[in-house]
Symmetry: C2
Subunit: 196 residues, 2 copies
């Protein structure tokens, strides 16, 4: 077993094909979550409801080959840790910024799913009056948790407190995101409720 | 000579070292422009003026090697054309979205610097009331050109008109961006003037 630069262990998938898919490498969890969110954002975009995209996976490119008469081939590159959240965009004039994470834990959500760069980014976004939150796939539901709450739990950890958010805390501070057919994880519904 | 997936010809740089730098590959122009904008955005962020980042270069990852006890190595990947603009973020609560391009032309700015996906993205952002523009490095100045104007010139091309924006048009519709010491390309100054 090896670890990512951010220290997360890599669990190899079974099929060799999947091994070559970036999203598997990008995170050893949450692939379905990512796909559902991409579908949701696609629906939002096509219906002019919002313009929200997942940022490309940041890679450090070390070696590129330039064959004649064909496209450049990246021969050596490494995954970089992002300094921001994965998703951002605009909804009804407001800046939207969020991260999506998943846990298999039954009773709590580990804060190690987030790293300090992302937390700092969230603070900056909040300072600029952006709508910043996390989507948590946990306890058989999708939760919208405003970044302001996440920051409190992060602060608690920084001060030596527990390294996770309890299920009770998430159920209290978070909002269950309605599941739709086209908008699979229909988080705009929560934003409407909280901000409009 | 080969062409990028988007049809742009690749002009190799002289130094082999530079050949291996992604930003060269990502665009055969505008490297200094990108560096200046990154420095500018860094200054904005550090001073809590705005939170604006360049999106990572999108790559299609085909083959990844997983050595034991070390980080994953991308062995084969290709540059993808982005479906959005390169830069976005938030400033004083407003969503900011822009693309930066450079030309060496003396009299006009070629529209081939933009591709239709980006134009469609700009339209969507405008529909959501975002602040959308392009930064043009041309005629020994940096110009802020609102996307609403760019769309008109693009439309003209679509209707069989000229494939570029004349210098006169850019000087008339655009705004020269002041050069700062820390904020090298201080485009927030223009946004303040136009939107606040």
């Amino acid at each position: 077993m090896f670890r990512y630069p951010n220290g997360k262990p890599y669990q190899p998938k079974n099929t060799p094909k999947k091994k070559q898919q970036p999203s598997i490498v990008y995170s050893n969890r949450g692939m379905t979550l990512e796909e559902d969110l991409n579908e949701t954002n696609k629906y939002y975009l096509e219906n002019q409801l919002a313009v929200i995209h997942k940022k490309p996976t940041p890679v450090q490119i070390v070696n590129v080959d330039y064959p004649r008469r064909s496209a450049a081939v990246i021969k050596e590159a490494y995954f970089k840790q992002s300094s921001t959240t994965d998703y951002n965009g605009i909804y009804r004039g407001k800046y939207i910024d969020f991260e999506a994470k998943e846990t298999k834990n039954k009773t709590s959500f580990p804060l190690q799913n987030f790293h300090s760069h992302q937390i700092e980014h969230m603070k900056s976004v909040i300072n600029q009056n952006g709508i910043c939150f996390v989507i948590l796939s946990a306890f058989n539901d999708f939760y919208y948790l405003d970044a302001t709450h996440l920051l409190v739990f992060w602060e608690r950890q920084e001060n030596g407190g527990r390294k996770s958010i309890t299920m009770e805390e998430i159920k209290e501070k978070g909002h269950i995101i309605p599941i739709g057919y086209q908008a699979r994880i229909d988080y705009l519904k929560i934003i409407d409720k909280l901000y409009f």
